[in-house]
Symmetry: D2
Subunit: 296 residues, 4 copies
């Protein structure tokens, strides 16, 4: 089985590496020469264009920054859908709005090409360790085919529904995540200001109805969750600017279907304020600085 | 050990009943004749006033609607602090702002009376079953003394810190709860509108970073959590108007210490809108109707 | 006509001064010795208590910080309602919630004492110059009686409706003001960031549908309105903490009648954040710092 | 002078009509046959494509629904920039994000084609009557050239700055408008619920610091402004869905430059909720239904 891997950045490069380690042949492409070089050093075959990579492939995997890049690679002037043979499989692991991948899938299906969305969670650490979670949107047989490939790069491959459902699941999860993290930041900061010990407060919350991933795994108050970014200066986590990107996708997708997301619209702007003030690279739990006298 | 129990309503009546079942002598008082009668039928001694009840007591427990009632009972013209002997213990299980109980405690301490705040979670079901959780604010010895009594009415008695810390913990927990419930409602409704199956979406969230009590125990979308109010028409849960009361306490306490609660201020108003539209008695997970074409 | 003036602070002291300049006899009281001394120097008669001042008076004017002080002065142990003779007139110019003055009015009326609320706008400059606007809540004859007195201290005396209506009008006006100021700050900062000249943008807004007092009289961007606080470092205006107080009254009054104020709840918290960061004394148009990379 | 007019819908059709009445030759194009027919009946020359219309023209005017249509008409496969001769003038009166027109302008300038953005306010009534306001973004000479043409369709032609500044001004104005309208709705509804007469309240606001276009010209409470949509069942105004579109542009533009618009993000979602509930065609002052027990 030959694989074409388009987009060899922080995430894609590490994912492709795991495919190579599994003994697969991988044809790769990235705009960055540095990325291509790392890929070559790991045993990958660097190609001149997405199309050149796809020509050799049974499976195409894309890991790109935004919807416009995904559209360009699949549907652009030299798009891969033109070059792939019937029966090929495309897996888009980028995080984009669901409508874009659904539109691309319609065209792919008309050419008898299988396609699924499979956005990830787990970050660069999960990408390196091969422990990513994939949220897959596809029909059953495409899902099974994708799972065989994705299993080399992650440990959970969840079938969320038809094409687009992977993106929907990721967007909705991260919408809830962004809000609940802000909620925990707000509640922790209020409690401490009112005079309670932060560890005692976290103890109550984590055994009560306020409990959430943001309180028990990744608490934004320092030294509540020892392995959380808050305990190391908000470094090396899920960057504020990436949370902002995902909230932007939620707002965009909500707008497409005229669905109000009252708190999401608000929290997007709070994260934007964080980015305006130079905190784009801090872990998104640094939103707690909205609630402290001194900024991050 | 004689106990005075002031406030024999939906919660207090059930709690006092458990003390009687444990064989304790309980002197009770409530403004409602019906409440007094139920208490008498269960074996309690009905008194004419809070002070009359307190005169007989080593321990006073109060379970009242709001801060003004608590102030009146402890500090009013015929308040119980005037009648209690040194060494007595007062336990306030009402949900009020922390400053009120701290102010009362200062006066109690000057009279060598022990006092603690011990707000509860668990609702009328927990009160009846004797399975409440108490969040206690007190010094260590007062906490130990209170624990011996509270153990007859609940199964968890958590020491949160000094006087007021119980209220702080409850307020902050419920602030996070109100926001995260709204977040889950928002995310579930967006996902379903975008086309994903609600069970599949909840499955992803509950194994990912969006996971919270409001998604895995009490999901606001019907028939995700079978025992949740959402699966029985939002009946028999934690009423929207009680969540509104607790969010009001959070806004008030935050105002006292000039601490911004950006999402709390917003969510308070969303719950207020629910109450304006006649949904005060529905479970607070009915906030999902903010995200549906038809109102509750 | 003898007047008792209770509360001789920044506002009340200047207002009482104008009554003295008009040749009236004024009996005054304040907790602050400095305030009393200034009042005496201006020709006022300093009294030992509110009641002592009221004993001599046909008209009582109160200008106090908050509802609890107003209740204490009128209804407290030595309250002025006990000492006033039937037919006396009380004017409360404090800014408080409408319900408090309505409750006091009910008791006053039972003693045949006339009472009205008459909160002001115009700040210390208007108080000094005698150009305040009074928003009066009273029946017609009380309004006419109050107008004769208030005319010495202000140039507009508006009849808003029955007792409480003055407070309602002020609270609602300032609610709209706090939100629209924030809106103008948001729009100006967005426009400038997108590259338009601030004067050109203000020119369009002020001749279009975005026009408001906060854009054409008191624009938060420096040097758009030359006489506005924004053009002098946000000094000497309507302090952020006073706007926060008024938004707090709006949230409280809204809560009493279960009326959602969705933006008000939000803007209250944004102003609270400003105060947390040490900007309580700046003019409320300094809210524009929420939208700038550097804080105030 | 020959004019090409692309987009002959509700707005464009009426605007083109005024050019014809002024005796100009107008070549028109629209996707809708009905629109083309009305245009022909008014004396216009219907063309087969934007390019066909532009071929005859010294001036191209576009009035299109969204950025993608504008891009397609100017830059698409048969875009008008390819066919226009050097020195021609393009006027885009669509309401879109500023970046799109700035990007198009860069290409136009490289071909020595003059271009400006000139979004309008005044609605279909202003378009019909020829009383629109145009907000123009262009260098001085292009502005002067555009003004000569726009004068046939409107009465105010405001020079806002360089290319894009017209869009920026419109977006920022409408952002402030959407928020201040919601603020007035919130304040009016609160006041009336608290018991003040709506006319008395509006009287105070309109002579005080809460005054804005939304309170004195277009008050959302019925029968305050007799000519406002609120006084005729919220019909025939600036539709809720158009306000939602403009708030969407503000959120998008803000995201492009990482500028937080805290209230804008919130108000966008409140308008989206209105649209979800079937009120898209009502005037945007119908946002007051967010504050009433019964929905619109």
């Amino acid at each position: 089985m030959n694989i074409a891997f388009i987009g060899l950045g922080n995430m894609g490069g590490r994912m492709a590496h795991n495919l190579l380690k599994a003994g697969l042949t991988v044809y790769g492409y990235d705009l960055s020469e540095v990325a291509n070089q790392h890929f070559a050093e790991a045993g990958g075959v660097v190609c001149d264009s997405p199309q050149a990579a796809a020509k050799q492939a049974d499976v195409v995997i894309t890991m790109l920054p935004a919807a416009k890049h995904v559209k360009e690679v699949y549907l652009g002037e030299h798009g891969v859908l033109e070059t792939l043979k019937a029966g090929a499989l495309c897996i888009d692991s980028s995080t984009i709005d669901p409508k874009t991948i659904q539109d691309i899938a319609e065209i792919a299906h008309s050419k008898n090409i299988k396609i699924c969305d499979a956005p990830v969670s787990g970050g660069t650490i999960g990408a390196q360790a091969g422990t990513l979670t994939f949220m897959v949107g596809a029909d059953e047989s495409t899902y099974q085919a994708a799972k065989a490939v994705l299993g080399h790069m992650g440990k959970n491959v969840i079938h969320c529904g038809d094409v687009g459902a992977g993106q929907i699941a990721k967007i909705c999860n991260n919408l809830i995540l962004g809000i609940s993290m802000t909620a925990v930041a707000e509640g922790m900061a209020l409690g401490v200001k009112l005079g309670i010990d932060p560890k005692a407060l976290a103890g109550v919350i984590n055994t009560s109805s306020g409990r959430c991933w943001s309180s028990d795994v990744c608490n934004p108050w320092p030294h509540i969750s020892e392995n959380a970014p808050a305990s190391r200066g908000y470094q090396d986590g899920f960057a504020t600017q990436l949370m902002l990107k995902d909230l932007g996708l939620a707002v965009e997708a909500a707008g497409q279907v005229k669905q109000p997301i009252l708190l999401g619209g608000m929290v997007q702007q709070l994260y934007q304020q964080m980015c305006m003030r130079g905190n784009a690279h801090l872990d998104f739990s640094s939103i707690i600085h909205q609630y402290l006298p001194e900024e991050a």
